[in-house]
């Protein structure tokens, strides 16, 4: 009775990471519980029906889950919770979608009352055809996605064993010259292929693109890759050319600016969800080729309309890649029913140990507004408030002090407001890259930064999105909220790589005290802390006094 795990009444599991059995426990609960927060001492996992069904889909049974909880729990696990878990897991697999030689797609059951129950639902009735025998009912092939979605909502997730179309063949090989898929990446590809369709969960920086490439080499067919934005699309293309037998010409980009359809096509969510006159004009992309594989990058950001299209693509293999299954809109169930169950989940710690991801030292510097600024802030219109506090003069002084402290290291200064950046560039004697900077100029400055010819670069939010933003060891964020919290963390991970000499990376955000700037920062910090990034808060005065 001294295990590392504590089961809470809200079905969260608290894991004491410093406990000697913590590793075993983590391995035991990872298949069915989602890691929600990973601060320094206690990690929080959550048990959800989807998590339990994911575990079922991966071949675990209720007994294993219950055993894991009972074995590692510090206190007696409420009986009701165990019963609930067993009952929930038992619901998966009672219904199966499969191919019938004579009737096409059919829904079969091992438990007749369940079939009776779901068939009585008004939402299921229009999706099914004739009753073939007491345990089998025909399903319209076009409703394969819809019925899975609806069944999940009814609490009876169906196992999809109906198979896939092969799609148009296209030779793709991994070009493993001087590098190889890491063992966990291989495992992920294997699990995915074996499971048919599903989601691979890997932390940021763990090489999700390579898992995608591996899956493509396995499928050897035309592939549609859906990514979040153009930057990401370019990065995918770059990686695929480098890592596989594919050439530039075989890979098309389908975005706002370019509309290429090639054997491997990378499309952005944005272009797909563009709506003109009430229709989605780019929807035909899905039918433009006989795709054999569809890859969804960053599944947790998948926009709602894409789900709708995906429902019609159930006969094609689908691979979802993400760092987290938690969606801010709560549509995890659609990911489960339409893309597939979780097929692979890598333990964060193991990948971290390989040195590919490393927590940066995050520091929040609080600056005070001057009295005049405070008055201006208090009287500003709501939409102007952020600008007022984000561009306070004190921030410049603090930024200069930080730059001085890390003199000699590669420093990026990131901001949102051009005036502020121009001013900073002037004071720091550093070049500024903003939206209007030409590509050639950008390229030149980036190269110079990489080579170490210039050590400080001021970039705007726009430039910040650029694919080839060089790596740095210090980043100073003076303004800007940068979309969702996850996006922020991912960007952080990308920009801040530990140097080969073991220098720790630093991330400073300069925040105006007692303003909404601070509120935004609080959200961000919570997320960072939950991801295991340690952070500190210092006063600008202290920092200025030190230097």
């Amino acid at each position: 009775m001294n295990g590392p795990l504590i089961v809470q009444s809200d079905k969260t599991l608290l894991l004491e990471v410093d406990h000697e059995q913590a590793d075993d426990c983590r391995r035991a609960i990872a298949p069915f519980a989602e890691l929600e927060r990973a601060p320094e001492h206690i990690h929080t996992y959550r048990v959800t029906p989807l998590g339990l069904w994911n575990a079922r889909a991966a071949g675990h049974d209720a007994e294993q889950v219950v055993d894991a909880l009972v074995q590692f729990s510090r206190y007696p696990v409420p009986h009701a919770l165990l019963v609930d878990i067993a009952e929930t897991m038992d619901r998966y697999g009672r219904l199966t979608l499969s191919k019938h030689p004579a009737h096409g797609l059919v829904l079969t059951t091992t438990d007749r009352p369940v079939l009776e129950e779901v068939l009585r639902s008004k939402r299921i009735a229009p999706l099914v055809g004739t009753r073939i025998d007491p345990d089998t009912v025909a399903v319209h092939p076009s409703e394969r996605g819809q019925i899975k979605q609806t069944l999940l909502k009814l609490g009876w997730p169906a196992e999809d064993l109906a198979g896939y179309v092969d799609g148009e063949a296209h030779a793709i090989e991994l070009a493993e010259d001087g590098w190889a898929l890491r063992p966990y990446q291989k495992q992920a590809v294997e699990n995915f292929w074996h499971g048919g369709s599903g989601v691979v969960v890997l932390p940021c920086g763990a090489g999700k693109t390579l898992v995608g490439a591996g899956a493509m080499a396995q499928a050897k067919s035309t592939t549609l890759i859906l990514v979040t934005n153009t930057v990401s699309a370019r990065q995918w293309k770059h990686e695929l050319v480098r890592r596989t037998s594919l050439t530039e010409d075989e890979i098309g980009e389908y975005s706002g600016t370019r509309k290429e359809i090639r054997p491997v096509t990378i499309a952005t969510y944005q272009v797909l969800t563009t709506k003109r006159k009430g229709v989605y004009p780019h929807l035909e992309l899905f039918d433009s080729r006989d795709w054999g594989l569809i890859v969804y990058d960053e599944v947790h950001l998948l926009p709602a309309p894409v789900f709708k299209f995906t429902a019609d693509l159930q006969a094609r293999r689908r691979l979802g890649l993400t760092a987290t299954l938690v969606r801010e809109d709560g549509r995890e169930s659609d990911v489960f029913s339409l893309i597939g169950p979780k097929r692979f989940d890598a333990p964060w710690k193991e990948i971290e140990a390989q040195g590919y991801i490393a927590p940066a030292d995050c520091v929040e510097v609080r600056v005070s507004l001057t009295d005049a600024e405070r008055l201006a802030y208090a009287t500003a219109e709501t939409e102007e408030k952020y600008r007022f506090c984000a561009t306070t003069d004190t921030k410049r002084k603090v930024t200069e002090a930080i730059v001085r402290r890390f003199a000699g290291q590669q420093i990026l200064v990131i901001g949102q407001y051009i005036d502020q950046l121009d001013e900073l560039g002037e004071h720091l004697g550093a070049p500024v890259i903003k939206g209007e900077t030409s590509n050639a100029q950008r390229e030149k400055l980036f190269d110079a930064f990489r080579e170490g010819e210039i050590s400080v670069l001021v970039v705007s939010k726009v430039a910040n999105f650029s694919i080839d933003l060089p790596e740095a060891t210090v980043a100073i964020q003076v303004s800007g909220t940068f979309g969702s919290r996850q996006e922020e963390a991912q960007r952080l991970g990308r920009v801040l790589r530990p140097k080969s000499d073991g220098h720790q990376a630093h991330f400073y955000s300069v925040v105006a005290r007692d303003t909404i700037d601070q509120d935004f920062a609080a959200h961000r910090q919570r997320f960072l802390a939950e991801q295991g990034y340690a952070y500190r808060i210092v006063d600008a005065d202290e920092l200025l006094a030190e230097s």
């Binding site: 504590i6 809470q8 969260t12 608290l14 601060p39 001492h41 206690i42 206190y75 910090q525």
Partner: protein, 847 residues
């Protein structure tokens, strides 16, 4: 079997009173213990005790407390001859095959009935108490559970002698000269197995089918005026006897023959065994129960904390509103019935009560503060003991009472006197199982029904069954049981002996089960307060090591959470509860620090340095820098702005004047305080302040909200348009002359009529007086009249207060009513005894 041979006994008792007189003190003590209603008040002698034991209410109570087999035995006696012999009874219970289980169990059942004074007399003359016989014997109004009909003698009572003779002849008996001997002969034939078999052997197959349908009851059937041949055959031979036009009955003797002597279709001599649905390791059971016990404590504390600053309002009818219960259930993260249970539990333990203020609310009692100081196990035992004895049943909450009012938690109408007894019994049954065995709920219910058949499924709402189900689920919630099995501390709490451990001791065959049933039910239904205290202490001893030790530390994390990996010491939990918000509960507690929560702690009088010291002292890990920063940051701004209330102010550009006012003693009443050099705040209202300052010799001017000087002038206050009130005269209007004259004339005429002397009339007859007797005499006379079947003369006052006299022939006296044939009205009527002013026997010449 050598049953109470009569030889070495005094002569057989002739009445229940005599039978009681023959019993020793132990046996009488048993009677009084099982029927406590007999000694409230204490009877003066055994005759009175016997009389009381024979009253209908008391007999009904006693019958309701019988188990199924004892009841079946009583029912069998009710259809047997009076008196009956033991062998006759055995025949009815065990049947011709003499079921060994029944043979074995019957003596015990009979002893039970004897002890309860429901049966008296030796084995050769067993007599069921008359009231019990009346209650249990088959009658057209209330069919017997045996499904038997009247005897041949009863059924032929109103039959013409000619018809009886026809039947006797048709049945193949010699005709006799009188009906009585004919009926006796017929009964003799029906009760003689061989001759009866021979008679039935000649019956047409479809006639036998008819008998088959009626044999297990109900014994009544409908016939047309011209019955079918198969019925005709039966009617001719008296195998069916008419009871009313169109209705026939299967005589008891015939039914018993067809049943092979059995009074009951399924005698149930053996109580249903409580089956174990699952057997867990006792350690698992105990630790699960302990975990749940801890949760129970946490939940009750949480409930009380939720209500700490004023609980929900008390409904006018008493209790908690549905909305408040819903809110509480959300706060406790439990379903509403479960939330109702916790609320009722806290109430039963005396931890919450209504505060009795004008605006009545629920609040914690001072008892609660004492309770909180106790060690966890003792806190639990307080709750569990209160639960065991409570008659309030939370399970009823949300249901409706007889008047269709919703039953609310903490409200009236939740008391069910049977609840503690059922609770004890259910837990007692659990205690009878081997350690770690969780019972099958169905078998527990079946057993309870067997033990109190008249109290169980007969009632439409099956209260006992529901009480038992609630007892099981509540025991689990409270941690008395774990995984359905009685925990060691639960067992100790009941004062129950240690469980039968090995499976060898568990009952295995029908014979083996008998001792289980007839062993006095362990444990006794109620422990005395002293015994309960001992039992509680034992439970506390067992539970204490199972409960988690309170921790004195938490883990602080950079995401501004604190995790308490177990229950915290009280002062630590209290402090953290103020300083941080609870985010998740269970085995551990997750607290989150927010600017709001830190501010709350500062508001509560803590200084930032106190908070730092507190966190450093109780954190096992270094205090994360962001958390320390958060506290300082909130403290920096805390109290920067000050808010207070004032009702008026004094403003003056010359601070010397204000200083002067402040220094003046007369200003004390105005409650002045200097906020700034030129501003004073006052507690007095502006008018009072003006007046006060003027009295001190100043000449203040009033100021409007905008700072303008107000010009003082008498403001005329006006209402909205109103109409003048209508005059309300003191009496009717003064009459005019015409009316007055007419009225006077009428009065005089009436006066003349009443004062005119008239001739004397006839004197009232003495016989018209109502009889007057005391209530005791009334009752006695009535009861005597029931026995003698004589008519009496009563005085009666009806509901409107009208007195009348009636001649009635009482049939039944019970429950304060007399049912009688009323000769005056020529019908059967029921009169409340308290309205009968008196009773007199009829003079012989009357009637």
């Amino acid at each position: 079997m050598d049953r109470m041979s009569t030889e070495d006994r005094p002569p057989a008792p002739r009445s229940l009173a005599e039978a009681l007189r023959g019993r020793d003190d132990v046996s009488l003590g048993g009677l009084l213990r099982s029927r406590p209603d007999l000694i409230t008040p204490v009877p003066t002698d055994l005759t009175q005790l016997a009389t009381r034991a024979g009253t209908r209410a008391s007999v009904v109570r006693a019958l309701e407390r019988l188990d199924r087999f004892a009841l079946q035995t009583a029912e069998a006696l009710a259809v047997a001859a009076d008196p009956a012999t033991y062998d006759e009874l055995l025949g009815l219970m065990a049947g011709d095959e003499a079921d060994p289980a029944v043979v074995a169990a019957l003596p015990h059942a009979l002893d039970t009935l004897r002890e309860q004074a429901l049966v008296w007399g030796g084995d050769d003359r067993l007599r069921l108490v008359r009231t019990a016989r009346e209650l249990l014997a088959p009658a057209p109004q209330h069919p017997s559970p045996t499904g038997l009909g009247p005897t041949v003698q009863e059924a032929t009572a109103g039959m013409s002698p000619g018809r009886i003779q026809e039947i006797v002849v048709a049945a193949g008996l010699p005709s006799t000269h009188d009906s009585v001997s004919a009926v006796t002969a017929l009964s003799g034939l029906f009760t003689h197995r061989k001759r009866m078999a021979a008679l039935l052997a000649g019956a047409p197959a479809d006639s036998l089918e008819v008998l088959e349908r009626l044999v297990w009851g109900p014994p009544y059937g409908q016939v047309t005026p011209d019955p079918a041949p198969r019925l005709r055959w039966l009617l001719d031979r008296g195998l069916l006897l008419p009871t009313a036009p169109g209705t026939v009955v299967l005589p008891r003797e015939v039914a018993l023959h067809l049943r092979r002597g059995l009074a009951h279709r399924t005698p149930e001599p053996v109580p249903p065994v409580v089956e174990a649905a699952a057997v867990h390791r006792p350690q698992v059971v105990d630790s699960t129960a302990a975990g749940q016990a801890y949760t129970a404590l946490a939940t009750v504390e949480e409930l009380l904390k939720d209500w700490d600053e004023g609980g929900p309002a008390v409904l006018r009818a008493g209790g908690l509103s549905v909305r408040d219960l819903k809110r509480t259930s959300v706060a406790l993260d439990a379903s509403e019935p479960v939330a109702a249970f916790w609320v009722e539990l806290a109430y039963a333990a005396g931890l919450i009560a209504s505060d009795g203020e004008a605006d009545e609310r629920y609040a914690a009692t001072p008892e609660y503060d004492e309770w909180r100081e106790l060690p966890a196990a003792e806190r639990w035992s307080r709750l569990a003991t209160a639960w065991l004895a409570a008659t309030r049943t939370a399970g009823l909450v949300g249901g409706r009472d007889a008047k269709d009012r919703t039953l609310s938690a903490l409200g009236p109408g939740l008391d069910r006197s049977a609840a503690p007894e059922v609770r004890h019994r259910v837990l007692g049954l659990l205690a009878g199982l081997p350690e770690g065995a969780a019972p099958d709920a169905g078998s527990v219910l079946a057993r309870l029904r067997w033990e109190r058949p008249l109290r169980g499924d007969r009632r439409e709402d099956d209260l006992r069954g529901r009480l038992a189900e609630w007892a099981l689920s509540e025991a689990e919630l409270l941690g008395v049981t774990g995984r359905g099995a009685l925990s060691a501390h639960g067992r100790a709490l009941l004062g129950a002996p240690a469980a039968p451990s090995g499976p060898g001791e568990a009952p295995s065959g029908p014979g083996d089960k008998l001792p289980v049933h007839h062993r006095p039910a362990p444990p006794r239904a109620r422990l005395s307060p002293a015994e309960q205290a001992v039992a509680s202490a034992a439970a506390v001893r067992l539970l204490t090591p199972l409960l988690p030790e309170p921790l004195d530390h938490v883990l602080l994390q950079a995401d501004l959470t604190a995790v308490a990996p177990g229950p915290l010491e009280k002062h630590l939990a209290d402090m953290l509860g103020v300083l941080a918000d609870v985010e998740s509960k269970g085995g551990a507690t997750v607290y989150r620090f927010t600017p709001g929560s830190v501010r709350r702690a500062l508001d509560a009088g803590q200084a930032a340095s106190d908070l730092h010291a507190f966190l450093t002292a109780h954190s096992r890990t270094p205090v994360p820098q962001p958390l320390a920063y958060l506290i300082d940051d909130v403290a920096r701004r805390h109290g920067q702005l000050r808010v207070g209330a004032a009702s008026a102010y004094v403003r003056c550009d010359d601070d010397a004047v204000l200083s002067e006012i402040l220094a003046d003693k007369r200003a004390a009443a105005l409650g002045l305080r200097r906020l700034a050099p030129t501003v004073l705040a006052a507690q007095a209202d502006p008018a009072g302040l003006l007046e006060g300052l003027r009295a001190m010799g100043f000449a203040p001017a009033a100021e409007s909200a905008e700072g303008d000087v107000l010009i003082t002038r008498a403001l005329a206050h006006r209402t909205p348009p109103r109409s003048a009130p209508e005059p309300v005269p003191d009496g009717p209007p003064v009459p005019d002359d015409t009316l007055l004259a007419a009225a006077l004339r009428a009065i005089r005429a009436g006066d003349l009529a009443s004062t005119t002397p008239r001739k004397p009339g006839t004197a009232p007859t003495a016989g018209g007086e109502l009889p007057r007797t005391g209530s005791a005499e009334t009752l006695a006379t009535m009861q005597a009249a029931v026995l003698t079947g004589e008519a009496v003369w009563i005085g009666y006052v009806n509901a409107e207060g009208t007195a009348s006299q009636r001649v009635i022939a009482p049939i039944r006296v019970e429950g304060g009513f007399v049912t009688a044939y009323d000769h005056t009205a020529d019908e059967v009527r029921t009169y409340p005894l308290h309205r009968v002013t008196g009773v007199a026997e009829l003079a012989d010449d009357a009637g």
